[in-house]
Symmetry: C2
Subunit: 334 residues, 2 copies
């Protein structure tokens, strides 16, 4: 069973996957993306037997589970970092804290079409992906052992994708990820001082300023963050205050799919279809809506190796000017 | 002039290098390590004119500054992320905080020998590098504008090195890097509760347990951290409590050079001379010694692309078992 270990200095939890761990001797070789051989891709229609049985799917009327006919399909990860069975067992090892690796780890196969990335799907299909994320969050939140449901997408080998077929991942965790914790703490401090949501204030200032705005629709906005860490880092936020992505309305999901598509298209054109990570930051589950937090997507194109010391210091040097990046992305003709 | 921008949510400072920024259009192409053409390597003896005038150097008696004869040479970075001239000017832009990019950015050329990496240098030479870091910290700390002196080394293009010639970097900053801030805050909380340094407790437990120990000398210890974030992440700590690397004794520097060399040799043999980042975590400058903090090196071999979502969540999945990695490294014959 995998375990969660807590760094005693910062309180950061780390997953140690002791189920099928990599041996140190295996690690000299780089992880490679397997060639795109469709016959063995476990996410192709017709290959449903290569994945564990599906959790849910959007599929044509009359087709059966684990057979073709689906257009979005959710399956358990075959090598999950965390396992769903068992009770949470917190224990100490001297000064260290350990928790057994309880959690869910699911794959959202976003399309039957091996080559159809999120940026090029029809908006209605993107909406179905966004709505699947939403449904999985609500379903997993029913499990009282979980504190957080993490939705993320790694596109391209350099962004950490093991398979080329378009997919995203869902992890239900018994702890809140560190960056989200930092955001929650910082946003709460701001709220206590000003009685306002820091994200709402940020959106209001960005909308007045315009220099970092990339997309601006009725209910959503895409911005380059003021203190951008990485070149082309981009956020999408709902304009109205909402801490919980699980409370997204069906109508708003349609609008969000359009904004997400246009944002990804801009990045794709600017950077020639770059590898990227997309992460949903949302409030911990099983909480009432929070006045101090605000859900959003963060998108990180992987265009250059980070300088390295970021990893050890948490300090970022961005060699681009956020306002210039925003203008560049805004000027792309869609 | 570059500027420091503060993320309004978490309080994290980011450097935006607006002096000679990369244009968005330039970023589609990956940063490449230039070929090792010794005649144009600015760090070769005889090429001293290609760097700004040296700040200090260890050199043969009778040789002149900015000429050959040195064995460790410190020069300003030709494209510094921060500049030394001027006063710190903090200002607001609506809700955002900005500081002008005051700081120092120096390069430590570790050897005249293009191919002689830290892991293979004689111990006495490594000691001179470690002592140069120490001297630069003390010298830069005299400047009251600085809060922190960051020492780090990127080895290999994939770890962020722009040049192959062995070198490390020193940055004096008007702010404390985020990870160090997190450590300082967590360590202070621990100290308030227990009246002990969390690192000292950690070292005592590791020395009793032995499973994660890689090197153990009179005054230093190399461990794999209990909540290891990345495969082969390794820390070196002084056994006796000391918050400030600037207070390292000359004798201890000799012992530390031996421990560092042996640690790097083990990593090099295990992973076939991997790219890596080495970062010094030490107390902010211009403070009295702190009872709650403990300086240390953190070393991160870059053997696999991180999964991607770490970047957006601060949550790490380590596919190896720390105790197994430690044993593997310990068993390597030196």
């Amino acid at each position: 069973m995998s375990e969660l270990r807590k760094d005693p200095i910062t309180g950061r939890w780390v997953i140690i996957t002791s189920d099928r761990p990599l041996r140190p001797a295996d690690l000299a070789a780089e992880r490679q993306q397997p060639p795109a051989d469709l016959s063995t891709c476990p996410f192709e229609p017709g290959n449903e037997r290569y994945t564990p049985p599906e959790i849910t799917a959007l599929r044509d009327f009359g087709t059966r589970a684990n057979e073709p006919g689906w257009w979005v399909r959710v399956v358990p990860n075959r090598s999950p970092a965390l396992k769903v069975e068992g009770q949470i067992d917190k224990r100490a090892e001297g000064m260290y804290d350990i928790m057994n690796g309880i959690g869910a780890h699911e794959i959202v196969i976003e399309t039957p079409n091996h080559a159809e990335e999120l940026a090029v799907m029809p908006e209605s299909h993107i909406r179905d992906v966004l709505w699947t994320w939403h449904d999985r969050i609500l379903d997993l939140a029913r499990d009282g052992r979980f504190r957080f449901v993490m939705v993320f997408k790694n596109k391209g080998a350099r962004a950490g994708a093991m398979l080329a077929h378009p997919h995203s991942q869902i992890m239900a965790l018994p702890v809140v990820p560190f960056h989200v914790q930092e955001e929650l703490a910082g946003a709460l401090e701001y709220y206590r001082y000003r009685d306002r949501c820091v994200f709402c204030d940020l959106i209001a200032q960005e909308l007045a300023d315009r220099r970092r705005i990339i997309e601006d629709s009725d209910h959503f906005v895409t911005v380059v963050p003021f203190a951008q860490r990485f070149p082309f880092e981009t956020w999408i936020l709902p304009k109205s205050h909402e801490s919980d992505y699980g409370r997204l309305s069906s109508t708003d999901a349609g609008e969000l799919s359009r904004v997400l598509k246009r944002t990804l298209q801009r990045l794709s054109q600017a950077l020639d279809d770059p590898p990227y990570n997309l992460v949903l930051h949302t409030a911990p589950v099983n909480l009432d809506p929070v006045p101090s937090y605000h859900w959003h997507f963060e998108i990180f194109p992987r265009i250059a190796h980070t300088g390295g010391f970021e990893r050890g210091t948490g300090f970022y040097i961005n060699p681009t000017i956020p306002e210039e990046t925003a203008q560049y992305l805004r000027d792309i003709k869609l």
